[in-house]
């Protein structure tokens, strides 16, 4: 005959089993707290040799994206470690196993990229443009048809320019290489975000390059790239970016990109893009 204690033990086992089964039906692993994730040494992927945006000289990083990274490190409380990336590596280093936690590298937010990573932003808005040698006769997009145009591999500029235009693309890994191609004449023009081209021209001491004034197409919105399915981190950074835009953006743009117009490039801090839900 079963004692009362035995019966109680059986009921306890049944209840415990049901609780375990119920908890097993829950959603996936919880996201790490953003402040915990961004603590200690945080590796940030950045461009390199990009005037006004991300440059490394005499052991010191400088530029708009670097200033944003440094500001975030002070605001959140971590030690930034900048890691130079090629344009194409901005995606791969966030989708594969690597030490990179954030990518702040003139990284345009797109629907296609959001399938593999998350973005927080934008912290700058822009359009695509074309750069040529100063004496070039190029005035419109039609003028570069059937010409060799340098684009950076894996950039939105590459995708957009190749869609519907008869050009001969010349893909390079970095922006600086494309600039060199234009300088040495192996590329007739270089197409990427106008704000990057403006920065290059503003830092060109010989004034041998120019941004074609009337070529403006597409729409670029720079965001901070993070690994996929991190809505908590995205929202955390979104809040920080809103503060950066309100308090730091104007001074940073003016000091890092002197001579470049901030018009239509500063986003509305109250209208940043919502963060993606986990897929």
């Amino acid at each position: 005959m079963a004692t009362v204690n035995q019966v109680r033990r059986w009921i306890g086992i049944l209840l415990a089993t049901s609780v375990v089964l119920a908890s097993g039906c829950g959603e996936g692993e919880a996201e790490v707290d953003p402040e915990e994730y961004l603590s200690g040494i945080v590796s940030i992927g950045v461009n390199i040799d990009l005037p006004g945006w991300s440059e490394y000289s005499n052991g010191v990083w400088d530029g708009f994206d670097i200033t944003l990274g440094n500001w975030l490190s002070r605001e959140i409380g971590f030690d930034p470690q900048y890691v130079p990336l090629t344009t194409d590596e901005r995606m791969s280093r966030l989708t594969e196993a690597s030490e990179i936690k954030l990518v702040i590298a003139n990284f345009s937010m797109t629907d296609e990229r959001r399938e593999d990573i998350d973005f927080s932003g934008p912290y700058l808005t822009d359009a695509q443009g074309v750069m040529t040698l100063a004496g070039s006769p190029v005035r419109t997009l039609d003028d570069i048809e059937n010409k060799t145009v340098c684009v950076t591999l894996g950039s939105t500029g590459e995708t957009r320019l190749l869609a519907g235009k008869r050009i001969n693309p010349l893909s390079e890994n970095t922006i600086q290489r494309c600039v060199d191609r234009v300088r040495d004449g192996s590329a007739y023009a270089f197409s990427t975000d106008r704000v990057l081209l403006d920065g290059i021209v503003a830092h060109d001491p010989g004034r041998s390059l120019r941004v074609v004034p009337d070529i403006r197409f597409g729409h670029e919105r720079y965001g901070i790239g993070v690994r996929n399915n991190r809505p908590g981190l995205c929202n955390f950074l979104r809040g920080k970016l809103a503060k950066f835009i309100d308090e730091e953006w104007d001074d940073t743009f003016r000091s890092k990109l002197p001579g470049v117009s901030p018009k239509d490039r500063k986003p509305n801090s109250r209208d940043l893009t919502p963060c993606e839900k986990p897929s």
């Binding site: 005959m1 079963a2 019966v7 059986w10 009921i11 049944l14 209840l15 049901s18 119920a22 345009s108 937010m109 797109t110 629907d111 296609e112 959001r114 359009a127 939105t156 995708t159 957009r160 597409g218 729409h219 919105r221 893009t273 919502p274 963060c275 993606e276 839900k277």
Partner: protein, 221 residues
């Protein structure tokens, strides 16, 4: 062997006074759950766990009681227990059915997705799976695009104008993946939603817009 079978038949007969009245509503409840389709399946899953625990615990207690000697149950008591079992077993499903008919959520169908460019609009007519319009209509817009390298899906806003029986009653702003709620007044015959896409500037976004997980919540208050 024969005397064992006879004893089993005798034991079953002894419990018929509560087993038969319980069987009637159980069968009725099963048929009702089957008739409810997906909602019935969900309901069955929810009530399945407590029922299973209760059943297992009852079996353990029954075994313990069975060993001990019990006096025979009187006919009057059997009738009372049987009637009570039938009453409880019948009233609860009847109450459940009434609640389902009046207050349970109703699935809503929006039809196929629409393809809309920036500033374009379309009117959709949601259809109720059953019942009449009353309560809160909730759904989740699902936007998608093939236009690379645009940034369209998350920044896009869906401006939804609600029209009931030909009268415009309000505009709601919705976004991809975020549940949206629209209150539908009592006594409405026809509901129309006009969807307008407002995308980020200069993107030339073309979005496929579907309204998913659409449900009418018929709150009783």
């Amino acid at each position: 062997m024969d005397h064992i079978r006879g004893r089993a038949r005798h034991t079953l007969a002894q419990h018929a006074y509560w087993m038969v009245p319980l069987a009637v509503p159980t069968v009725a409840l099963t048929i009702a759950l089957l008739a409810l389709g997906e909602w019935g399946a969900n309901l069955a899953q929810v009530i399945g766990l407590p029922f299973a625990i209760y059943a297992a615990a009852s079996a353990i207690f029954a075994r313990r009681e069975h060993v001990a000697y019990r006096a025979p149950v009187s006919t009057r008591r059997k009738i009372a227990v049987g009637a009570l079992t039938l009453l409880v077993g019948a009233v609860l499903p009847a109450f459940g059915w009434l609640w389902y008919d009046r207050y349970a959520d109703v699935d809503v169908r929006f039809g196929s997705a629409s393809v809309l460019g920036e500033g374009e609009s379309v009117t959709v007519n949601p259809k109720l799976a059953r019942s009449q319009w009353r309560g809160e209509l909730t759904f989740t817009p699902a936007l998608s695009t093939d236009s690379t390298p645009g940034d369209c899906v998350l920044p896009a806003r869906l401006m939804i104008t609600t029209v009931v029986d030909g009268q415009r009653i309000g505009v709601t702003e919705a976004r991809h993946g975020v549940e949206t709620a629209i209150t539908i007044p009592d006594g409405v015959e026809q509901v129309e939603l006009n969807l307008l896409v407002k995308g980020p500037p200069d993107q030339e976004c073309v979005l496929t817009v579907a309204l998913t997980h659409a449900v009418l919540h018929r709150v009783p208050w």
